[in-house]
């Protein structure tokens, strides 16, 4: 089986550590992730509000390339990219006429049959079964698993049963030795796209998330989306100013958590790249 890999823009920029840690744990588990050749923008945020055909063509081109490279699965770690790719696949499989139109635009064969995995699905399928052997230094801390909006939605496409109270990340963290706390902000909005335009809204929304996680005793927030990470980590000044106090809870990617539990070095996990310093060894 050939597993493709679509990084998207974030993983090559603001969330390089997500990329590094994902590739590191895949390597550790003996899984090859093949980056698809000449990939392009997924069209997240703007395209689907402006130009329907463009917003479908952009992801479709990436899917078609993956098909042409004979990949069976395509891992898309960024939740926003994943959402665009999955929605495109869903819409084009529902609407055959539209698929014809898009296929013509792509000017390459396009079956629309590749299996797209988000990071949690990838981990569940390929990494979790090998964790028993791979976990070297369990993370014995309380963590808050934060899913955000795009990983589990929309419900009718993702077919997730617990889309208001997902558990998949919690289960993985448990396998790493951590104790995922029971908390109500798993899928609350972090402020998402307002990160740049209206930072104070992010401060309020992300602030409530950070406060609740801290209040319930979590020592780290675990995420699986570059946007969530930016808002919770990079926007800490806005958060602190909304909460009127300094919050020091670190925010890590699930892949980083796995990397650390596998005994990889902090540098291999890329945790030096965060704004809020990460020190998970405190309560070991």
């Amino acid at each position: 089986m050939k597993i493709g890999f679509y990084p998207g823009c974030s993983l090559t920029g603001s969330s390089r550590e997500y990329n590094e840690s994902l590739l590191a744990i895949a390597k550790e588990a003996g899984i090859e992730l093949v980056e698809i050749n000449d990939w392009n923008c997924c069209g997240a945020t703007a395209a689907h509000n402006l130009n329907k055909e463009l917003s479908l063509s952009l992801p479709a081109r990436n899917l078609a390339i993956a098909e042409s490279e004979e990949m069976d699965e395509l891992v898309v770690p960024c939740a926003a990219c994943f959402n665009r790719l999955v929605m495109t696949q869903h819409e084009l499989s529902e609407k055959k006429d539209l698929k014809k139109v898009i296929s013509e635009k792509l000017q390459m064969p396009f079956k629309n049959e590749i299996r797209i995995l988000n990071v949690l699905q990838f981990l569940e399928k390929h990494i979790v079964p090998r964790l028993d052997q791979l976990v070297k230094s369990p993370l014995e801390i309380d963590v808050a698993c934060y899913y955000g909006c795009l990983l589990v939605r929309p419900q009718n496409v993702m077919k997730s049963e617990r889309f208001e109270d997902p558990m998949s990340m919690d289960t993985i963290m448990q396998k790493l030795g951590a104790n995922p706390i029971d908390w109500p902000f798993k899928t609350e909005c972090c402020g998402a796209g307002f990160s740049i335009s209206k930072t104070e809204i992010v401060g309020e929304l992300s602030g409530k998330i950070v406060r609740n996680a801290t209040g319930r005793g979590a020592k780290a927030i675990v995420v699986a989306c570059p946007m969530c990470h930016s808002n919770l980590d990079m926007r800490r000044p806005a958060i602190d100013s909304y909460l009127n106090m300094k919050m020091d809870i670190p925010v890590i990617y699930i892949t980083q958590a796995i990397a650390l539990a596998m005994g990889l070095t902090p540098r291999q996990a890329g945790i030096q790249r965060h704004f809020v310093p990460v020190n998970l060894t405190v309560n070991r």
Binding site: Q155, N156, R162, E164, P184
Partner: protein, 667 residues
């Protein structure tokens, strides 16, 4: 020589809007064997039917095709019209030009052409139709009512009062159903038990009603007028004739901490128990799962204290076979399982409860004797949030429909709370207020205006606990259009009304249709709301769809009257669409070779043997024979028969072949 009449209906504009009906009639008129063809605005109307009758008489028609709606709608109408004109009713067929053509296609040449094709197909079939005569079967004038809630109680009483025997089967130890659990009822606020229990007693005392509680339907065979039902009477571990209902056993039973089903887990019961004080019959059963004797082999306290020696530990389930002529299904509904909404914390937080649990809290016979006290610490809640549409109208929860009763009972709950806790504050998150019903809207107004219940239009996204309070996060979509958070002491979820978990299996046992939510399907959404697609089986109450008490009672009486109509005659006619083994001249007698594969395939054991003998009485041949009383006309045997020796009347090999050829060969 075929002289077929073709009658094309406009159905107002339902057909004529997309199909060129005049062209269809014209094209039909040119078909070989068609002697008369016309179109008309409403074929099913009196003038329409008269037109058919006249045409039959004037043209000596020997076959009729009506191109109109689905035969599932009006086949009986037109067959009857033909009969009145002296034509055998089974010489009439219908082409489905509405449901299968005009309603599903846009106006176009292709649509008209399809209508012509459908009519031609049925014309070719009807040419091969043969006059058939209804089969008379005797009617067993006993009704089986399944479910002893208010629907089953009402239906039983009505049928029994008309003078017929009724067997009422209830799966729980007592009849009464959900209605017996309710505190007070909207919109009058009269006490549910006060109006229900007299009816329950009436059932117990009625000479025509045989009550079987703690019993379930195991099997149903046969057909309208002559069903054979097998009932499993679960072992109650009690000799009901000896038990005098004194209740000593239930007070002495040492296993006392079993969550009471009747009190929705808010109260406790013993292992030998009567579900509630007014139960009918007022005799206990032993819950084997929780009884120390059954589980550990020790105890028998009940046996020791029983003054009449009525305890029977060795009692076993009993299967009872009953002959019945009609069945009323009145199995009610259930509420959505708490696992359905983890975001509301049901099951995680003790003070998040369902509407049904609130009924028990508010009920004078409930675990708090009618005081609103929250389950966690028994405190009187100062602030309650009610969440309407908890699951309902939410496709993501698998319940896209409206549960219909929640708007009203939530208003009632808030009202009852305000009446009992004057200084308390109540909030209702709602999507829309659906209060269509006599005095319903006025009732909701009263809750808002007089009892000052705070209605917030918006949905709740999350309920979580913080500092001993339940934080309800929702949105107010009207005035502020902003997220709201309410710190509540208790949250009541108006959980969606869903089909009973056993509904699907029951439907399959009885071969009645059910919808995608496992509610039983009525035969027609408007005109046959109490019938099922299986003749002789009727529906009453919330097993068909969520409904409130008045509606349930009306439907139950409706179902009862259908049963009474059925029982008004000693015999009923059945369609003769059954299988027949052929006969041919000697020395062949029948092409059947007697392999009896048809017999092993028949779902009704309707195929037996027939010995063909010569004049001296010597057996020449053994062939299959269909018992017309048992055959239901599925035709499975027909498709099996290699030598085509068995055929089904009305769907014969010749007819089906003719249809295939006609359908595929136009121009």
């Amino acid at each position: 020589m075929s002289k077929i009449g073709v009658f094309i209906c406009h159905c107002g504009e339902n057909i004529s809007a997309t199909v060129d009906v005049a062209r269809v009639a014209e094209a039909a008129g040119q078909l070989e064997g068609v002697a008369f063809s016309t179109d008309y605005k409403y074929m099913c109307s009196d003038p329409g039917q008269t037109m058919i009758k006249q045409a039959i008489k004037e043209n000596g028609l020997n076959g009729v095709v009506v191109g109109s709606c689905s035969p599932r709608m009006h086949e009986p109408t037109f067959r009857k019209a033909c009969q009145e004109a002296g034509l055998n009713p089974f010489m009439c067929e219908m082409a489905n030009l509405r449901e299968h053509c005009s309603w599903v296609h846009d106006k176009s040449e292709a649509t008209t052409q399809k209508a012509i094709d459908l009519v031609r197909t049925l014309v070719e079939k009807v040419k091969l139709n043969k006059p058939l005569f209804s089969i008379q079967v005797p009617v067993t004038k006993t009704a089986l009512v399944i479910g002893g809630g208010i629907a089953g109680i009402q239906a039983s009483l009505d049928i029994a009062s008309a003078g017929h025997q009724v067997i009422l089967v209830e799966k729980d130890p007592s009849i009464g159903g959900h209605m017996s659990q309710l505190s007070e009822t909207f919109p009058t606020l009269d006490c549910s038990q006060c109006i229900l229990t007299p009816r329950m007693v009436e059932v117990a005392q009625h000479p025509n009603i045989k009550l079987m509680t703690y019993a379930e339907l195991e099997k149903l065979e046969g057909s309208i007028g002559n069903f054979k039902a097998t009932i499993r009477k679960k072992a109650k571990s009690i000799d009901e004739d000896l038990c005098n209902g004194c209740g000593t056993c239930t007070t002495k039973c040492p296993t006392k901490k079993i969550p009471s089903e009747f009190n929705t887990g808010l109260g406790m019961r013993t292992a030998i128990y009567v579900p509630f004080p007014q139960a009918v019959p007022n005799k206990p059963v032993i819950d084997k799962e929780n009884c120390s004797y059954y589980q550990k082999g020790k105890c028998k306290v009940c046996e020791k204290v029983c003054p009449t020696g009525a305890i029977r530990f060795d009692q076993e389930d009993e299967l009872v076979e009953l002959e019945v002529g009609a069945v009323v299904i009145a199995t009610g509904f259930d509420i959505m399982q708490p696992s359905g909404f983890p975001e509301y914390g049901y099951g995680k937080y003790k003070d998040v409860i369902t509407g049904l649990q609130f009924e028990r809290l508010a009920s004078a016979s409930g675990p708090t004797l009618g005081e609103i006290r929250r389950p966690s610490d028994g405190k009187i809640p100062e602030k309650i949030v009610f969440v309407a549409c908890a699951g309902s109208r939410d496709p993501a929860k698998g319940v896209p429909y409206c549960s219909k009763i929640c708007c009203m009972y939530t208003a009632k709950h808030a009202m009852l709370y305000q009446h009992k806790v004057h200084h308390g504050k109540s909030y209702i998150f709602y999507m829309d207020i659906r209060a269509a019903g006599k005095n319903y809207e006025e009732f909701v107004r009263r809750a808002i205006v007089e009892d000052e219940v705070n209605y917030i239009r918006g949905r709740v996204s999350k309920v979580y606990e913080e500092n001993g309070k339940l934080i309800v996060k929702g949105v107010d979509t009207l005035l502020s259009a902003k997220p709201v958070e309410i710190e509540a002491d208790m949250v009541v979820l108006a959980s969606a009304a869903v089909a009973n978990p056993g509904a699907e299996a029951l439907a399959q046992k009885m071969h009645v249709s059910y919808d995608s939510y496992n509610f039983f399907s009525e035969a027609h959404p408007k005109l046959k709301p109490v019938e099922t697609n299986t003749a002789g089986i009727f529906l009453a109450g919330a097993c068909q769809a969520p409904k409130d008490i008045p509606e349930t009672v009306s439907q139950a009486s409706g179902a009862a009257s259908k049963v009474i109509i059925l029982f008004s005659k000693d015999e009923l006619s059945r369609d003769p669409l059954i299988a027949v083994v052929n006969r041919s001249p000697a020395p062949v007698f029948s092409t059947c070779v007697g392999c009896f594969m048809c017999a092993s395939a028949c779902p009704y054991q309707a195929i037996g043997e027939e010995l063909i003998t010569n004049r001296q009485g010597k057996v020449i041949k053994k062939v299959a024979k269909v018992n017309p009383g048992l055959c239901q006309g599925c035709g499975t045997c027909v498709a099996f028969c290699r030598s085509k020796s068995i055929d089904i009347q009305g769907y014969s090999n010749e007819q089906m072949c003719a249809e295939v050829i006609a359908l595929l060969n136009h121009e």
